[in-house]
Symmetry: D2
């Protein structure tokens, strides 16, 4: 996914507020599944809450910067999927992150269920970048 | 409602991003109904989408400023409620706004329905401030 | 400007939270000036705070909807610029809005100054749509 | 820090969007320093960008839930501070997180500098909860 930093995503330090990187990772996730032919919110009766999300920040992003979010599936468990994410601006690595989501029947209560074949069959676990 | 400006609500101009004022108005709205003994999201089968929202901005709010949001019901229609809102910091008027919401049966499609007595009986239309 | 609704922009009513429409209007504003060859934040020593912003909401936007934001300059004052904005999804009008910004020397205190020729010379006041 | 979940912080799954937990952690951080007599943005010429932030999510937070954010200093380095964070609702652990910030002279370019005594002298590294 490629896009530009919006003004409202920047904070008084004149850089992207770190909380927005998690939103960028999610945007890339939805674009990822859309590219695989699937709308995550349309998977019948299932939800995909996050069980963890992390980022290391290496360099700041500023207003109007064009940047790229690269997402791959790092691991596929029985009920969960782990993504790895790299955010870059040209040759500069801005941030590296990861996020794990779990498939649940939306409750209450939420109950973990196996990743449906509808998802599993469309994607592959990717090797980490060299 | 009283609270402080959060860092992440400010933009590179070092003032609260104007979009957040609409969120402050909504926070005050929910606090308003909570004070009247009601949780808006718990009104059975009804939703309250906005049909209009407006603000005039008179002075900026900065990080860590303590401010106050005053909300009153400006008009009560058959299917809609109009709020008037003033945001102040001490004696300084920061912004004045208004918002109209309509009661709907959540659809799809959404369909406007009369404001339920559950809401109507708890509040009064207030005179504008002198 | 065209783009899709992000998941994190939607609320529990499963529609775009109304506060985000003001952010869409700002995204379109920055895209507008970028198309005119200008980065708003790079205009030396000037800031452009909003003095008013308003929207009427006609129909909801949902997750993953593709939508379009059309912005035109409705009026150019000595120190201020007024935009008019229409948000559409295909043939459906979603929202119509307006926003006025003022040119200021960033303070404190902020002081209104004439719209610089750098902006004035690049754009035209547009007639309203038929 | 104690507060309630705002409606606009929840997503179509009717739970707090995970990105907002990082904002809650930051709110607690600023409240923490304010309680220690310090406004982070007023430390002369210094900024405090994040170098990492992480959360594990154990249970969802819903609209209107009252919750508590507990922050402690997990480590104090020469140029950085690491926080540990627990978010709870009553007896339920909602999320556990951590965040590392670094002291920089705001640039460009940013340059890491020692944590000033102004910060160091006001706080203590806390033992983890039993």
């Amino acid at each position: 996914m490629r896009r530009r930093v919006n003004f409202y995503e920047c904070d008084p330090a004149r850089i992207v507020h770190f909380s927005n990187f998690y939103r960028y990772m999610e945007e890339a996730e939805h674009a990822f599944w859309r590219a695989a032919g699937l709308t995550l919110t349309a998977v019948h009766h299932l939800g995909f809450p996050r069980v963890s999300a992390t980022f290391d920040f290496h360099a700041p992003l500023h207003y109007d910067d064009a940047f790229e979010v690269t997402l791959r599936i790092a691991a596929m468990g029985r009920t969960s999927i782990r993504y790895a994410c790299v955010i870059t601006r040209g040759d500069t690595t801005i941030a590296t992150g990861a996020m794990t989501m779990v498939c649940v029947e939306v409750g209450p209560p939420m109950r973990a269920v196996p990743v449906p074949d509808e998802l599993r069959d469309r994607v592959e676990v990717a090797a980490p970048p060299a």
